[in-house]
């Protein structure tokens, strides 16, 4: 299995990030300098003891008391290439990622053609390598063309470098197919990721089914549409013993189901998106198609439950579900516009709101964005321990800024957070010891 991005040679050879607060979840939390050689972490400490730190060739990067953390890891994004390059390319997506502090991103297979074979996977790696920004790990399809019928050549996908499989966006409705996918995946030690949605229950819905959809006359997506599939997947995880990763949970009952399953020791993990813990269905009231995503924005009760799920560990990771769409697509009427919003460049400040609100500690929040997601997909990133890849984000947790989608590195601007004043600004992003984003 090849898990490398093949970035151009590390530069410079010897690097020291000094004067920052290092938060390497589970390992370091405090004032420390970071010594990097040839793209790897050599030492984290204060003062540094390695003699290389005194080497005359060293390049010093001043962190000014900012937070220095492992580069963020996103388990769930859509890079749209091949097939939908007008929305995003792997290069623009990766540039957007590093601008948001992400150094590793896992892209879903719903491209055109679908990533259901090694040729597509290898193409994605090649495009990512050429872009030279974030590490990109493709997620392969569960079924051929994500049609939910025949299993894709999963062994070949894993061999080509896919880190998980999913039919995200076109979830596997047939529970027998899902069972077989889980069993088959067991041989390769990869998680199976499911976008939990019963498409029959969704029945063309385009927002949360609730009081707001009733008032707006909008077809609704009931909570049950997600929850019945969460429950199915938990049962199948139990049956097969294979790790099921549940994408973007949105309802209180989903959190409760996962909490219960984890209590029973089932091999299950879950992620949540920043928008689901930041805003509710009320954002749809003015028919803003940038508040249309799937799963839909739910109620405040759900939002609180998602936060609680993060606090008690029921939810393991924060993922963006970065889903770029072109302006002309989002300019359609709400019910006909496509689902999805961009997420890389707002994920960190939205997560930091939870820190500023006192819901999570900074270390807990960063854990959900670094170490924890990396472990779930067995990615060789997410830590600043000596020997690790020098994938690092440096950010000012306090700096206020106004979200202006026109300045996004993403090709698309579909976000409901435009105009928001947020706190937490990425200053510098480093991949393999190379500065790939610099806003100092």
């Amino acid at each position: 299995m090849t898990k490398k991005t093949g970035q151009s040679p590390p530069f410079p050879h010897l690097l020291c990030i000094q004067g920052g607060i290092v938060i390497d979840p589970g390992h370091v939390n405090g004032r420390a300098d970071v010594l990097i050689q040839n793209g790897s972490i050599i030492e984290v400490g204060f003062p540094l003891t390695n003699p290389l730190s005194q080497d005359s060739s060293i390049t010093i990067l001043e962190a000014n008391g900012w937070v220095v953390a492992p580069g963020l890891v996103d388990l769930h994004c859509h890079l749209r290439e091949p097939g939908f390059e007008y929305k995003e390319t792997i290069a623009t997506g990766a540039a957007s990622a590093v601008a948001g502090g992400f150094t590793t991103i896992c892209c879903m297979p719903n491209t055109q053609p679908v990533n259901d074979n090694a040729a597509i996977t290898k193409f994605m790696f090649a495009q990512a390598q050429e872009a030279g920004k974030a590490r990109v790990f493709p997620i392969g399809a569960i079924t051929k063309k994500s049609e939910g019928e025949e299993l894709a050549d999963i062994g070949e996908l894993v061999d080509a470098g896919c880190v998980a499989i999913s039919d995200d966006g076109r979830p596997v409705m047939n529970s027998l197919v899902m069972r077989r996918a889980l069993e088959y995946a067991k041989a390769f030690g990869i998680p199976v990721v499911d976008h939990c949605e019963d498409l029959h229950l969704t029945d063309g819905g385009c927002m949360n089914e609730g009081m707001v959809s009733t008032e707006l006359g909008m077809p609704g997506i009931p909570d049950a549409s997600e929850e019945v599939m969460v429950a199915r997947n938990l049962a199948l995880a139990d049956l097969t013993g294979v790790h099921v990763h549940l994408a973007h949970l949105s309802t209180a009952r989903s959190v409760e189901l996962v909490r219960h399953a984890k209590g029973q020791g089932l091999p299950v993990s879950a992620e949540v998106c920043p928008h689901h813990f930041s805003i509710t269905e009320e954002a749809v009231r003015c028919y803003n198609s940038n508040a249309k995503m799937n799963p839909p924005l739910r109620t405040d009760e759900d939002l609180q439950a998602l936060k609680q799920g993060l606090v008690d560990g029921t939810i393991d990771a924060i993922a963006t579900d970065h889903a770029p769409h072109a302006l002309q697509e989002k300019q359609l009427e709400f019910d006909t516009a496509p689902f999805g919003i961009v997420g890389f460049e707002t994920a960190l400040p939205l997560t930091l709101r939870l820190v500023h609100e006192g819901v999570l500690s900074l270390e807990q929040a960063l854990d959900k964005l670094t170490r924890s997601p990396a472990q779930l997909f067995h990615l060789p990133v997410g830590s600043l321990q000596p020997g690790s890849h020098a994938d690092i984000v440096v950010f000012d947790p306090h700096e206020e800024w106004v979200v202006d989608p026109t300045t996004f590195f993403s090709k698309s601007q579909n976000t409901p957070f435009g105009g928001w004043t947020v706190r937490g600004k990425v200053k510098m992003t480093i991949v393999d010891g190379r500065i790939v984003y610099d806003a100092r």
């Binding site: 009081m211 009733t214 008032e215 707006l216 028919y287 300019q331 009427e333 709400f334 019910d335 006909t336």
Partner: protein, 313 residues
């Protein structure tokens, strides 16, 4: 007092006083329709564009007639003749129409919120003639007008709406208008046709037509959309007719002076039996007549937002 607004998009955004103002204005304009020369010059030189993305004959004709009786020039745009088929967005189409100096755009569209989005994008006044399942405010206003005309009041009346509430913009707008004016509103339908949380809009929900009809002053029948049949909402037309058709026998459960309304077109023998539709209790054609007056009133009031004109110039 004027309406003080550029657009008429929803009943939700109107106060009871504003509804009353529209009704009072419609009353004074109704007389025009009885004249030999059915025209007043209130909107002379103004342009009204009917922009209908869904097929409609009645509503479009009613708006057209209303505009013409106010001496406005009327243009009808429908999807087959417009450039929507070329992939233009609604807003682009509307801006083009606006660039032709349209004063009022009457919009019917299959998407909820289409009228609101349009109103935000153009300077012309926008009247919502139906947006998806959301609202059909002029239908509710003409229904309220008809109820008031026949009953002398709305407040305190027991009014039942029968049929597919979930997928009906007529039902939503009527529920909002009637509750704002103090009526006691009931809805009755199979539970598959009642949307989430409807009771929070201040209505009483029934699943049995006979129970819902007891002691009612007004019955508003909704048209059963036959295309809903295949979507697990109903077993069959036969069973729907058996449970929800307004028959002469069922009518006896209501108050003796009950009136029966229907936004049309009728599915005779499905939601309403012909003998009820054709009986004197049915005020269906009065609704059609009043529709013109109410739409005249609206156009008149909206045109006064930017530029005061008078009825008696």
């Amino acid at each position: 007092m004027g309406l003080e607004r550029k657009d008429l998009l929803t009943i939700a955004a109107l106060s009871a006083d504003q509804i009353q103002l529209i009704l009072t204005t419609a009353e004074s304009l109704k007389e025009v329709g009885g004249r030999d020369i059915k025209k007043v010059p209130a909107l002379r030189g103004k342009t009204v564009v009917n922009l209908f993305f869904e097929p409609s004959t009645r509503t479009r004709t009613s708006f057209e007639l209303a505009a013409k009786r106010l001496s406005a020039d009327v243009i009808n745009f429908s999807p087959s003749s417009s450039s929507m088929v070329k992939g233009e967005t609604l807003v682009d189409t509307a801006r083009n129409i606006e660039a032709m100096q349209a004063d009022i755009i009457v919009l019917r569209h299959s998407s909820p919120g289409a009228a609101e989005n349009l109103a935000r994008s153009v300077g012309s006044s926008v009247i919502n003639a139906g947006d998806g399942w959301h609202e059909h405010p002029t239908q509710a206003l003409l229904d309220v007008f008809t109820i008031k005309e026949k009953k002398g009041r709305v407040s305190g009346l027991v009014i039942v709406i029968v049929g597919d509430i979930a997928h009906s913009r007529v039902a939503r707008s009527n529920i909002l208008a009637l509750t704002k004016l103090g009526a006691e509103v009931r809805v009755v339908a199979p539970p598959t046709m009642i949307p989430f949380g409807l009771e929070h809009l201040g209505v009483e929900i029934f699943y049995n037509l006979d129970e819902a009809l007891i002691n009612t002053d007004v019955i508003i029948m909704l048209r059963l959309q036959r295309e809903r049949l295949g979507r697990t909402l109903l077993p069959s037309l036969r069973e729907y007719a058996k449970l929800f058709c307004l028959t002469p026998e069922r009518l006896k459960l209501a108050k003796p002076d009950v009136i029966v309304m229907h936004p049309g077109p009728l599915n005779r023998g499905v939601e309403i039996s012909p003998s009820v539709a054709d009986s004197p209790v049915a005020v269906i054609l009065d609704q059609v007549t009043n529709g013109v007056s109410v739409r005249m009133a609206l156009m008149y009031l909206l045109s006064g937002f930017s530029e005061r004109s008078t009825l008696n110039e």
